[in-house]
Amino acid sequence: MPALASIAPSPAPPPQRLDVWRADDLQPIDASTTASGWPELDAELPGRGWPRSCLVEVLGTQPSTAEFRLLGHALKSVSDSEGQVALVGPPKPVHAPGICQLGLDPRQIIWLEAQQPSERLWVTEQLIRSNAGGVVLAWLPQARADQIRRLQVAAQATDGLFFTWRPEAARHEASAAPLRVSVAMADPWTLEVHLVKRRRPVHTAPLLLRSIPTGLESVLAPRHLQPVHALPPVPAPAHAVDRAAPRARRRLVAVQ
C-alpha cells in the first residue's frame, strides 16, 4: 500500500468541544467529579472520579452485597460537604447505625421506600430534578432503556451524583447512562470492577479493588484477610450457647 504509506500522519487539531474527544485520550474532561476512594479506579474513570450531573449505572449479580463498599467513599464526601444522601428503594432495610459508621451524618440521610417500579422511577426523577446537589442512590431492578434515558436527561440539567443499581442481566441492553460499572466479588475482600461503558477508550482488564466493609478493619486480623480457597473443616462449636456440642464429644470418647 505505497499510496497510504506516503501520507504523512498529520497531528489532529485539538477538539473544540468538550463532548468531542480523541479516541486514545482519557484525561481532559472538564466535568466536576467526586473521588471514588481508590486511586486505581479514579485513574480509569474519565475525569478521575465519579462524574457529577450524569447517571452512573452500577451492575451487580445480587443486590445488597457491595453497594456501600463501592460507593461509601463518595457518599461520605457528599455528606461531609453538607449534601443529602437519598436511598431509593433499597433491597433490604437499611441499618441506621451501620450506615452512620460509613461516616455519614445521620441528618443527611433519607430513605425513600418505594416498591413498585413506577414508584421507584418517579421518586428518583423527582429527586434528580430537585437539584439538591447531593447524591441519589436508586435500586432500579426493572428499569427499561427509555426510562434510564429519561433519568439521564434529567440528570444532565442538574448537579449531583446519581447512581442506579441494576442487575447484571441489564449489561447486554443498551443504556443511555454515560458510565456503566459492573461490580462482582473476586474474593470477600476484593471487588472486581469492570467499566462496561465510559466516554473514553474501551476498558479491557477488570480492576481488582481491595475493599473491607467499614468497621470490620478493626476486628479482622491479617490472617482473616488471606484469600480463602477451601473451607477448613469446622470443629463442633464448643461455646456455652450450644448444648449439643458436649454431648457429641462425649459420644466420640465413648466410641474410642
Binding site: Q101, S130, L231
Partner: protein, 437 residues
Amino acid sequence: MLWIALLPEPADASSPSSDALSGIASWALQFTPRVAILEAVALGLEVEASTRLFGGKRALLTRIREEAEQLGITRRARAPTSLAALALARSGISNGFAKPLAALLDSLPLECLTAASRHSAVLARLGCRTLGDVRRLPRGGMARRFDAALLESLDRAYGLRPDSYEWVSAPDTFEAILELMSRVETAPALLFGARRLLLQMSGWLSARRSGVTAFTLHWAHDAMRSRETGEGDALTVRTAQTTRNIEHLSRLLAEQLAKVSLEAPVGDLRLTADEVYPLIENSASLLSDPQENVETLALALERIAARLGPDRVRRPRLRADHRSEWMGWWQASEEPVPRQQPEPSPVPQPTFLLPEPLKLAVKANRPLYQGPLQLLVGPHRVEGGWWHRTGIGPDAQSLNVARDYWVALSAHAGVLWVFQTRLARDQGAWFLHGVFA
C-alpha cells in the same frame, strides 16, 4: 403613571359579582398596594412604582398577563390614567402607550366611558359618535346641559384631572369562592378550578408577606344530588414549611385530590387559608447558595411524601442500645430530628439489617446461606434486654436476647452478620441478621 385595567368576563351581560372582583383584587395586591375597583366592574392597578421590584416593566407586564389568563381574565389594557385603561380594555386595545393618549381615546366610541354612555342618546343627537367628538364640544355648554360627572370623567380619562380612589386593602383572613363553569364529577378535575383559587391565595399571601402551612379546599355538591350525599366535603392540605409557592401548593393538592372520590358532582369551590404565618424571604445571593438547594429538596420530599405516604420518607435515628434491632430506627422525615444523636455503636454494624432474623439451615455444624458459610470473627456476645417489653398483660413479651454474633463469609452473598442462639429445649440455631454491603 402606569395603570393596568383588568376586565373580568362577563362584562356585557351582568356585572361580575363583588366576590369575584375582591378575589382578583387580593391576587393583584401582590404587585402594588394601589389596587382599586373601577366602576364596580373592573380592577385597576397602578404599578409604576413596582416595576423595578419585579424585574422591569416588561417582566411585570408578562407576569400579570400570564397569571390573569390563568384567572380567566383576557381583556386588559394599560394606559397613563385609570379611566383610559378601562376604556381601552373595553374596546380591546391593550397598549395605551402606542400613540399619544388623546389620539387613542378620541377614536373610541361613547360606550367605552361609563359617564358618556349614560348620555349616549343626547350626545348622538348632537352628532357625537366618538369621545373625540364629545371633547370638542364647548365645555361651558356641556357643564350646563349634562351632569358634572361627564366632564369630570372625560378630564380624568385624558389626564387633565387627578384620579382619586379608595385603595383595596388585603383582608385579614383569606376565603375565596369559585363557581365552576360546569359540574365536575372527578376529584382531580377540581384542580383546574382550585388552581385559580390558589393563585388568588398566593397573591394575598405575598401582599401580606406571609405563607401558609395549612389550607382547606371545600367543595359543595351540586343541587341535583341524591338524598344520601351530604352538602359537600373538604380537604385540608398541610405543608411542613411555610410557603406560598403556587407550583408546590398545587402539586401537593393534586397528589391529595388523586386519592379523593367525589360522592356527587361538584358545583362550587371555596378555598380558605387556615394557618398563616409570616414568611421571611431570603435575599438573592450573587454566589450560588447551598441553602436554596436544601429548600428545593425539602419541597421534593414533601411531594414524594404526599404521594407515597409520610411514613415512607424516612430519616435515621440512633438510640444508645447494644442490640442491633434497637440500635437505630427510622422516623418519618416530617418529624423533627434532634441536632445531637447518640454516637453510633463502636462495634461494627452491617449496612443492611433483615426485618426479622432469617433462620438458617445447618449442615455438618455449619450454617448454610447460598452455600456453606465460613465463620470468620466471633463470637461477639450480645445479651440482655429483659427490661424491654412490648404489649401489656398476657400479651407482654420480653425482648431479651442472648446471641453470639459472627462475621461470616459467603461465596455469593458477601460478608454476612449471623448469630447463634439457644431456642427451646436447648436447641441451638443459626440466624442471618445483616449484610456488610
